[in-house]
């Protein structure tokens, strides 16, 4: 599974330039977003729910095309790719979905073996060894015969991680990897993200709103709100940022640029107290 050499020369694995996108024309989700992910880095994209970060991930995946601007992934613009080209690009990427998205009708082993069986014609023994390797890397080699329904949330996510690295991808995408994990499982995932990135020589992109956890693992952060990048920097820079929204987000304050109250009429009016 050697990667073609030219991809290794790219300085930036992902380059997003002036990308705008909306699921329908009336409501744009991304407005003129520019960011880039250098090779070998672990980059976080953070923001509140609904700020557009998951949509950005889908654009990088090629599931959607930007309505304007370009998204270059692994050296090619997603807009230029036909279906075969898109699939070829995705074979070099791995994605970890929020709850794992394991195939429930297969065992752990069969799940991890799936990309190998679909895309390679390696002999059975070799596939077996590779699957064991990947499962060992996430610490679940002993669980290979279990069904996904028998796994805890954290274990399922680790198996999904093993599956997504089965073909040794150059780019790893993580969609909310820390959601709903207990502190131990969280620590495990953090360690794995770092280790895999470095040992595979890959680049990782983490989309999350778990600020404190993520700041401890990433090299660089992009902060998004309302479809725009409003701040970027190293974790230390972000922690020290005096941009009001970032400040509120990082420190978990309930009041700031994002108000506590959902827009509503005057309280008096709702309680029917005000005399007209």
């Amino acid at each position: 599974m050697q990667q073609p050499p030219d991809a290794a020369q790219q300085k930036h694995i992902v380059e997003i330039r002036n990308v705008s996108f909306g699921y329908d024309a009336a409501r744009p989700v991304l407005r003129d977003v520019t960011l880039s992910i250098p090779r070998g880095a672990v980059v976080g994209i953070m923001g509140q729910s609904g700020c557009g970060k998951t949509t950005l991930l889908r654009i990088i995946m090629g599931a959607y095309l930007p309505t304007s601007g370009t998204a270059r992934v692994l050296g090619r613009s997603t807009a230029e790719l036909d279906r075969a080209g898109l699939y070829a690009m995705r074979r070099k990427m791995g994605m970890l979905f929020q709850f794992g998205a394991l195939f429930t009708d297969m065992t752990v082993f069969q799940n991890v073996a799936f990309p190998l069986r679909e895309h390679t014609s390696l002999p059975h023994d070799l596939i077996h060894d590779l699957v064991m390797l990947k499962l060992h890397a996430v610490g679940l080699r002993g669980a290979s015969r279990l069904m996904p329904t028998a796994l805890s949330g954290g274990m399922a996510r680790r198996v999904a991680l093993a599956r997504s690295i089965a073909l040794d991808p150059q780019l790893m995408l993580y969609d909310e990897p820390f959601t709903g994990l207990d502190p131990i499982s969280f620590g495990v995932i953090v360690r794995l993200i770092r280790e895999l990135n470095d040992s595979l020589g890959a680049t990782s992109l983490i989309v999350t709103h778990d600020v404190q956890e993520a700041l401890g693992v990433v090299d660089y952060v992009y902060f998004m709100a309302a479809g725009r990048v409003i701040a970027q920097g190293t974790p230390d820079q972000i922690r020290a940022s005096d941009e009001p929204f970032v400040n509120q987000f990082v420190n978990g304050k309930s009041e700031g640029p994002v108000p506590f109250h959902y827009p509503a009429p005057e309280y008096d009016t709702d309680l029917e107290l005000a005399a007209s």
Binding site: A63, F103, F114, P115, A160
Partner: protein, 268 residues
């Protein structure tokens, strides 16, 4: 009724019809794509065989039991009426023709839609809701070729076999009641049946019907599953739509096919 309200209703009606037509077009393109990309389902026949198991084998019990009961009831009801005209020896003809021409394909189709069709829709819908379909797409595997196509061909292959088994069981049930219980002459039962049931006209037409129904039901089932809203409520609604739409489609197609096969071309 004020003009504005009437107009609003008409607009809604037009909108509903348009959206149904649009959806039918979408479903047709889906079917075309599915058939064109059936290479994986045929090359890796194991996948399709697994689906024949889930759709066909697991429906065997309900099909066989229902067939038996339908045949038995046909014999009871048929005898009751025939013996008034002194034609009780034609009981075999009645049971066989009713089953082979109509009840076999139609009732087996309806049962298949409820049992296997809804299961297929729920399965595909849930895979969509739990992001398994997206995960597959991300792993550069075409989910339609890998997940949908085997289920489609599994259903199409199972349906004619189930209909034939339904009819066979029904005739056996009719024999049990008619000959063993009621006492119609066994010889007359079988011989009149053999004289009246034609391989081309009746049995083959019944098989053609069941193939058409199989295609219709499975197409609807896989489409509704793939198109379901990825929430629990969405999957439940999609499953209901599968059963309702399949049942209506079977009955409508049955009418069209019967009109084509059994009435037109009535001798020179």
């Amino acid at each position: 009724m004020p003009i504005a309200a009437l107009r609003a209703r008409l607009e809604r009606l037009g909108g509903t019809v348009t959206s149904h037509v649009w959806r039918l077009g979408f479903a047709s393109r889906f079917l075309f794509y599915l058939v064109v990309h059936s290479g994986t389902a045929l090359r890796r026949f194991r996948l399709t065989i697994a689906e024949v198991y889930f759709a066909g084998v697991l429906s065997l019990v309900i099909i066989l039991v229902s067939g038996l009961f339908v045949g038995m009831v046909l014999a009871l009801q048929g005898y009751e009426t025939l013996q008034r005209f002194g034609a009780s020896e034609s009981l075999g003809v009645l049971v066989a023709l009713s089953l082979v021409r109509e009840l076999g394909p139609v009732v087996a189709g309806l049962l298949f839609a409820s049992r296997a069709g809804s299961a297929i829709t729920a399965e595909i819908g849930l895979m969509k809701a739990t992001e398994q379909i997206s995960a597959m797409e991300m792993m550069a595997v075409d989910p339609i070729a890998r997940v949908v196509a085997p289920r489609f061909w599994g259903g199409v292959l199972s349906m004619p076999l189930l209909a034939a088994l339904f009819s066979a069981m029904g005739i056996f049930g009719g024999y049990l009641i008619g000959v063993q219980l009621i006492g119609v002459d066994a010889g007359a039962f079988w011989s009149q049946m053999q004289a009246a049931v034609d391989w081309n006209k009746d049995i083959l037409n019944g098989v053609i019907k069941s193939v058409v129904f199989g295609v219709a039901v499975t197409w609807i089932a896989v489409f509704e599953g793939y198109d379901a809203t990825p929430t629990a409520e969405g999957v439940s609604r999609a499953t209901t739509r599968t059963v309702v739409t399949s049942s209506l489609a079977i009955l409508a197609l049955d009418f069209i096919l019967t009109a084509l096969m059994f009435t037109g071309g009535n001798g020179k």
